[in-house]
Amino acid sequence: MFVAALALCLLGYIVIAVPGKWFPSVTERASGVAQLTMPRGVATRSADELIVTRAAEDGNTVISLTTDFRALDYPVVQWIAAGLPVDARVALLWQTDVEPARVNKRTLNVESGQVQAADLHGDPHWIGRVVGLALAVQGMIDTPIRVRGVIAKPAGAVDTLRDRAREWMMPEPWTGASINTVLGGSDAQRLPLPLLLAVVIALCALIAWLLLCTRARNWRPGVASAVVSVALVAWFVLDARWTVNLLQQARATALQFAGKDANEKLLAGQDRDLFAFIEKARAQLPQQPARVFVVADADFFRGRAAYHLYPQNVWYEPYRNALPPADRLHAGDWLVVYQRRGVAYDAAKKSLRWDGDVTVPAELKLLDHGGALFVVR
């Protein structure tokens, strides 16, 4: 019953989701980070992701690539981008050989921080050969946007189902966001698996009821048993997918950390350079906890540096990139500066100067790995 209901639901989905040919003659075209260029905004490449950290001066960010495919063959364009704010104004831009002077635009929806696919069936400007695609984001970028690439899809029935399956089975490695949300597959999912399975269960309940209400006066126990059985199977399907993800993640964790001692793990971790610097700084600090002030541009580095420095009596601004009030610093206090712009040391005068023309008498004790350790005199 479960399999039959699932097949029926998928068929219904195809009817809704595939307006064009169910069996087209071309396959999808994916472009990864290597093909992307960044005409506007600032980004860095990290493995298979483009991490966009800043918009251009005019507040726009544009990520583009050169393409060459028949618009008619690929009616769906999916940018793989995540980390967008809920109110982000995002658009797909494209150019065709039919109207080379015209830049076409389609506003894209953002759900749960992810760009949704653009379905260009019936768009009067999605014609000829598409020679360029771009993702445009309007407004300032507060948190980094992660872009993995773009996929042009023929969007036939098999492709559509394969896409959904790929979305469900996409490995979901641990990230900083994992502790808050489990996506259940890829960043963007057009048909969430829990929703599909819930509909399957509802359909099974309906079928069971139709089967039973004509045969027996008391149909409730039969329908209840059927629904519970089907729900357990559906739950197991979801759990199997999740267990595969856990196993993949355990393998990744093993590759990164297995066989290492506590220190080696930290040196293989997310902040290895910072940890290496702090280890050297700790050697300079007194055994008895002293007051240690930590400054860094990034919240992450301030917090991590403080964590590695404990049990020293650390102070830092957890949520603000700010320096300690100079008048609260005493002789004998320590200052850790890690990748912080606007802090200058005058070796001749043995003094530190920072934002607002503040000057603090201090002596440099360590300079290493983008960090410096000072003791206040």
Binding site: M1, S178, N180, I201, A226, L232, F257, K265
Partner: protein, 474 residues
């Protein structure tokens, strides 16, 4: 390898102490039902993991430095003493014909081969999950953000200094001139950091991966406790195993084990245990159950700040149990008063528990729907809760379940108020803290849904189901 054995021995001691503690209370009861042993084992971990940090606080107050001897020896002595009491009571009960426990196999009907295969298959599946998560806990150094800016910060300082020192906010820290420590949330409760301290003491060194073993133990013990609780309430072994599997499969709970260091999973576990123990008390009405329920309710306060509110959500269930006639009216009045107070508070913009309350009713429904029903956080949990609440309306309000249902309803009401009326709604919109807050009630909500479904099935089964449909569903 030796230090890993020390760590395991340290936590085995805590667990054994907790088992002895719960067993002393349980052994005072006549005729413990099937599953009570598993309940004792599962809940025992939580009893031990609550009481040992209390002991560590006491040591710190008296100026005794944390050490294996100072913490471990008294716990070991207490475990042996409690174990001795349990054994003596059992021996006495065995000698006394009226108190003898009938544990003969004729009490439980034999399980069919097919059901046994399913049950052992599920146990193997559970073992696979537990092992996978243990590997992540064992290998991964402290990873998630809050873990290293507000929880393990305290553990690191307290372990290094050998005693608890106070943490304060920025202004207080500057004024204290070195006698206060600082982190992102200096007012957070101490229990969870003290777990990490005990891990480190047992290990003999600071290791920010291995110190998180108690998160994995919490997860395993919760599954065992839920299995035991449901067996106590009449579930057969297969149904209780299915329940343990379902509650262990919640993906976000799994993440909180693998990426250990947050207090949300412990909060969820203690709240679930408190609610189940309160429910058991409401049905059996004896002192041992009341003590266990109270122990876990108090423990909730020491895990996270919202633990106070979670503990309060147990109150409607207690009221309904104590006053079956007038209880519903009292609970309804209390809810009305709460809503009225909320409205009044909203007009005056006060801050309660750090949450700014105001009557700006603008919940992020879409984000909430995404989080509960579309993303992978909960499998089918919230679909099940909604359907069970509708279909099982008559059953969940009936006397055996009404107390537990009231607790779950109060918990959900708390979440709805927080998400709809306070600045917590921002957490819903950006998918950050919303799921962590929901995690606090998720295992309990799922256990409740399973209990209601079982009650429904039992009610329906009084009239036999047609054979052809059962076959069709398999």
């Amino acid at each position: 390898m030796i230090d890993a054995a020390r760590l395991l021995a340290g936590w085995t001691l805590v667990w054994a102490f907790g088992i002895a503690l719960v067993a002393v209370l349980d052994s005072a009861q006549r005729d413990p039902p099937a599953g009570s042993r598993m309940w004792t084992i599962g809940s025992g971990f939580f009893a031990g993991a609550f009481v040992v940090p209390v002991w560590m606080r006491a040591l710190s107050l008296t100026g005794i430095r944390f050490s294996l001897l100072a913490i471990g020896l008294p716990v070991l002595i207490a475990t042996v003493a409690l174990g001795f009491i349990v054994l003596r009571r059992r021996a006495a009960a065995a000698r006394h014909p009226l108190l003898a426990i009938d544990t003969s196999p004729t009490n439980t009907p034999a399980m069919s081969k097919r059901r046994r295969v399913v049950m052992y298959g599920l146990i193997a599946w559970l073992a696979l999950r537990f092992i996978t998560l243990l590997l992540d806990v064992w290998w991964t150094p402290l990873y998630p953000w809050d873990a290293w800016i507000q929880w393990a910060t305290k553990a690191r300082v307290w372990y290094s200094l050998g005693h608890i020192v106070p943490f304060g906010r920025s202004a207080e820290w500057f004024a204290a001139n070195g006698s206060l420590w600082f982190d992102a949330s200096p007012n957070y409760p101490a229990t969870v950091p003290l777990w990490q301290v005990w891990s480190s003491v047992a290990l003999g060194r600071w290791d920010d991966a291995l110190m998180n073993l108690p998160w994995w133990l919490t997860f395993v013990a919760l599954a065992v406790a839920i299995y035991g609780a449901l067996r106590v309430h009449g579930f057969d072994a297969l149904s209780a195993t299915i329940a343990a599997w379902l509650t262990s499969s919640l993906p976000l709970a799994n993440v909180h084990v693998a990426l250990a260091g947050y207090a949300d999973l412990p909060m969820a576990a203690y709240y679930t245990l408190a609610a189940l123990a309160t429910w058991r008390w409401s049905l059996e009405r004896n002192l041992p159950n009341a003590v266990i329920a109270l122990l876990f309710a108090v423990a909730c306060l020491t895990i996270k700040t919202p633990g106070i509110v979670w503990a309060l959500t147990l109150a409607p269930g207690v009221v309904l149990a104590l006053m079956p006639q007038r209880g519903p009216r009292i609970v309804a009045t209390a809810i009305a008063v709460v809503l009225l107070v909320l409205a009044v508070l909203a007009q005056t913009h006060p801050v309660v528990l750090g949450y700014r309350l105001h009557l700006d009713f603008a919940p992020s429904w879409q984000a909430l729907v995404d989080s509960l029903f579309l993303l992978g956080n909960w499998h089918l949990l919230w679909y099940a809760v909604v359907v069970v609440a509708i279909v099982g309306w008559n059953v969940l309000r009936a006397p055996p379940l009404v107390s537990l249902s009231a607790t779950v309803a109060s918990g959900l009401l708390f979440l709805i108020i927080a998400f709809a009326f306070t600045n917590a709604r921002n957490w819903v919109a950006d998918q950050t803290t919303v799921n962590r807050a929901v995690l606090h009630i998720a295992p309990l909500a799922l256990t409740w849904a399973i209990i209601v479904v079982q009650a429904l099935l039992e009610r329906y089964r009084r009239v036999p189901a047609p054979v052809e449909l059962i076959a069709a569903s398999q």
